[in-house]
Symmetry: C2
Subunit: 620 residues, 2 copies
């Protein structure tokens, strides 16, 4: 959870400065209106081909649920035409209302609100030379079921003697929360109550979807509390807001782990989420005929059967821990565990520790062990992308998630949409310049690491952190200090290192080197999220879902074919009524909107024809 | 706490509509600039008389801490001149920056930010015929100690191996909270952890003032939880926000009591307040030489000595309960209690209840008892001002605290300031038209009540609820349904009624009438807040403080002399380092800013010469 990377500076040509004032702004507005007028004419005629003609030959239309009941990017004019034809004109944006238009580097970026038959939406288009380069349509609210906020908020009390109910708010709250599986079935069961499950739960609650979140820990936020002592979020505050209830304006830039844990616990309470702590899902089966799941959960030691219609796995985008099968593990006399089970460095004061791996967890744990006075050796197996937290803040986050952005009127919801408006196919081109700049700026830092023997990379195509995160969710470290320790030799490094076997007293490498160890930590990553489905449901269902995460970029650990969206995340899968939710704080916040709308529509019996449901891909 | 009345429609001539667009807006801006230019010239010359000349002969200058280190209203040109002369030009507003100017009914209302030697401030002036009618100056932040928000927020984590501390956020948090009285003394001790103490605590925490809040209940929010079952706030959501962390935008209009309790409990946690539950203050003495209090508190049964510099009583603006000494109370066989001890109506199902009084608590309790199937009789002793909650919302709250206001860009902080900008001396004139309209609109409602024998009033000068609240904090009921029950005879009424004595089985009135009763509830109000000081410190200190609350209007229960501010509230008293905090949610929120700034300035050793410290008035 501390490994969330962040979008890059170059993600948006939307100027946040005053440059675009005066005539420039007028020009941008004219460009926007001219194109939108042509769009309106073509759309009114109901001609998919006519609308597609307004796009560049290689243009993009990304749709977030509004049109496709899917997360889908149509790439190129013909895919756009096919998509529009299939979904029909009722789903196309109409009544477009421009909220901003700015031109920079020959690209006019237009932000707007709109309507279609089903949704109110928000969109962003990038225009150049009279054509549309990228178009984003996103569902905001169901027209028939708007959010009960502002003027639509509930009264809370039906004042008046004739409306007195024998049950008050608390009675109803307890009855609802405790009665799931007995009095009522949750329409949605969310397995996993970290920030992902909680944020989704808040959206479902607002939409009036009966949802229960279950989590194995005793208290919401324990997912953070149980982590290592000195941990603070690696992402800054502007990136970390939960839906609906932003942090107060003096919240620290980097939340300490127990502080964010307390926030999440309070969030569950004040957002009135139905949340069962100390509850584990033991098994789940789906009955196609009734269209419901049967899920056995154990709550505080007692079994209960739940029959939700939809099952959402929000157990962490890191799937099941990869613990390699190393010869000799049974004879090693010390502790062995996966990074996810690291008990904190205090246990190993004065001891010898070997950490296998060189990504985020490996660095975090090495730092923690060093801080606690252990003798630490990191074994690097392959090259790692390192980027300093400060540099990320300066070069990549600034325009979207920062005090600058806030002062320019770009709050996180808008930032999320701007970031989403860049099709994944071209995202690397937007990101690369920022990471080139970081590489230049932090030259000495990188040289020191290389001098210490550390193998560095900047991603398969030098596109940096965020692409690596989207493609494989591994292979990087956001540096908050451990890299200095590596460079200075405080954390010892063996690189490259291949573990051959464990001995009674330590680790033997393939080159014959032997390292004494009291503890060996395997920071060797995680499987795909569909592993959770295998564990909870069965392998067949997991296989039908296929790999979760990754774009299909055909770069290391992200095998093709190209999908253009994150596989199986926040959208319908090949398994009916099974959903995957997760990602970093920004993604969980943003995509929980679309997942909650998909679920609400199904609850309300709205027709939800999924366009271009993705195939499953088993490749590990 | 459910009795908070609300400001009236007519409180502000600031137009929230688009009327004032175009040339009107330009005119308003010109009027504002012309006057401000004259002000700037006179102020630059340092001539108090010159500045005072810019005011109407009967003009007002209200200052909230910024200039006077007091809450003080100078009434008329000569008082304004004297005040300006005494505080000196360094305290006068300069660098005034107009944020809005609008003209309505010949009055131009100007809102602005400004600076003086000590504070950044906000102000509101009303101009007519070239002169200033009312002027508000308010302290916002200390120039030398701005709030650590936005760009000034703390980093939270000192990332980097060299900054690793053995203590994390949680360690420090626990150490600080638990160590008060042992490792460290709180600079401020806040007695009472309801919304008043909590809101003040949040402001002090943000300003870096070591403050401890103590409360006798087991959990924050219990002050609400323990009240009657069906209670919801009588004030709507826009009025009820706490400092810094507004409710989400789907919060119910009227918060159920347990929901607001949960919010307060979460607020204490996420705002990192130092709060001791289950803690009672037993005694307090002040040592003038050292300038510190010695306060003995019992926490979970254990005594601890605290030595704060400042003591804030935030135990509720209702002081100690008034329980009249009725003959025969000892022989009455049923239950007798004050309204504040009402255990909830469920205990009295099928029983006979007599409630003495006809204000808010009496109505609430009668409604609760009726709801629970008791046979209820209300004894009205004198006339009561009744106003329907809905009518208050429509006629009085709308322009400042409503969805309309929010959509017009008037959030609660701005609304608070606008309301504060009307000097108390002329507030009745602003309020009367709204209550005249209510009286007209709800004619049938009032007629039905009178037909049932209920004695009505609209305040001493027909100025309605808010003035009654400010003058005496009693004598009214915000109707949320119980009045209908009275009108329909579901709640029986005896009016006028004077209790002569209690018998073994009931209540005997002076007119000879006897009422059977299983329970008698005395909804007979509360004493002044200085009663808390008598209880905790001693009677001498309570007398030196004198009466709290009330303006000195010489209307019933608000004896003169005229003070022009609420006596002893949120401002220095005649007793050094003793403060009173409270009021409804709006007042607690708004005035906690000024109280926290006064305390912060003292902590930092800033000179705080109090202008026009009010005399004490003992009159009960």
């Amino acid at each position: 959870m501390s490994t969330d990377p962040i979008p890059a500076d170059a993600t948006t040509p939307v100027s946040t400065t005053a440059e675009a004032a005066g005539t420039d702004a007028q020009d941008a507005s004219q460009v926007a209106n001219a194109w939108l007028q042509r769009y309106a004419q073509a759309a009114a005629a109901g001609e998919a081909a006519g609308v597609a003609e307004l796009f560049e030959e290689e243009g993009f239309w990304r749709d977030l649920v509004a049109m496709t009941w899917n997360l889908h990017t149509a790439e190129g004019r013909s895919q756009i035409r096919d998509m529009l034809a299939e979904v029909g004109p009722g789903a196309w944006p109409r009544d477009i209302d421009v909220t901003s238009a700015e031109t920079a580097d020959g690209v006019t970026t237009v932000m707007f609100t709109y309507l279609n038959d089903t949704f109110t939406g928000k969109g962003i288009a990038r225009l150049r030379d009279g054509s549309c380069w990228t178009f984003l349509s996103s569902a905001q609210e169901l027209v028939a079921h708007p959010e009960p906020k502002g003027r639509r908020r509930i009264l809370g009390a039906e004042h008046g003697a004739n409306n007195m109910s024998p049950e008050n708010w608390l009675d109803r709250r307890i009855k609802r929360q405790e009665g799931f599986g007995i009095d009522e079935q949750p329409y949605v069961l969310v397995v996993g109550g970290g920030q992902g499950g909680i944020g989704l739960g808040a959206r479902l609650r607002r939409l009036g979807v009966p949802a229960l979140i279950i989590d194995k820990h005793p208290r919401p936020g324990d997912q953070w509390r149980n982590r290592y002592h000195s941990l603070c979020l690696h992402d800054p505050v502007w990136y970390d807001h939960m839906p609906y209830l932003p942090f107060p304006d003096d919240w620290p830039v980097f939340s300490p782990k127990d502080k964010i844990a307390d926030w999440l616990e309070s969030y569950v309470k004040v957002m009135e989420l139905d949340y069962w702590s100390s509850t584990e899902a033991k098994s789940a089966t789906y009955d196609e005929e009734s269209g419901t799941w049967t899920v056995t959960v154990t709550r505080d030691g007692e079994d209960r059967i739940l029959k939700p219609t939809h099952l959402v796995l929000a157990t962490g985008m890191s799937g099941i821990p990869n613990l390699p099968d190393v010869p000799g593990a049974d004879r090693f006399r010390g502790d062995i565990h996966h990074s996810s089970k690291h008990p904190g460095g205090a246990k190993y004061r004065g001891k010898k520790a070997v950490v296998v791996g060189s990504n985020n967890s490996a660095h975090d744990i090495c730092g923690d062990l060093w801080e606690n006075g252990a003798d630490v050796t990191m074994l690097q197996r392959s090259s790692t992308h390192i980027v300093k937290s400060d540099s990320l803040m300066t070069h990549t986050l600034g325009p979207l998630y920062s005090e600058d952005a806030v002062e320019a009127g770009i709050y996180h919801d808008t930032a999320d949409l701007i970031f989403a408006s860049i099709p994944y196919r071209i995202l690397a081109d937007f990101q690369r310049p920022a990471f080139d700049a970081i590489r230049q700026q932090d030259k000495e830092f990188y040289e020191a690491l290389e001098k210490a023997g550390f193998m560095l990379d900047f991603g398969a195509d030098d596109s940096g952190l965020f692409l690596k995160y989207l493609r494989r969710a591994s292979g990087y470290y956001i540096d908050i200090g451990a890299s200095d320790l590596v460079a200075r030799g405080e954390i010892k490094l063996v690189s490259p290192a291949v573990v051959a076997e464990l001995t009674e007293t330590g680790v033997k490498l393939e080159d014959g080197q032997e390292l004494e160890a009291d503890v060996v930590v395997f920071a060797t990553g995680y499987g795909s999220m569909n592993g959770w489905a295998a564990q909870l449901i069965d392998q067949d269902v997991a296989d039908r879902v296929g790999k979760c995460w990754g774009l299909g970029s055909d770069t290391p650990k992200d095998p093709g074919p190209w999908e253009g969206e994150l596989r199986n995340m926040w959208k319908p899968t090949q398994v009916e009524n099974l959903w995957f939710h997760g990602g970093n704080l920004h993604q969980s916040r943003h995509y929980s909107r679309y997942l909650s709308l998909q679920l609400k529509a199904r609850l309300e019996g709205i027709d939800t024809p999924v366009y271009a449901l993705a195939e499953s891909h088993h490749i590990e």
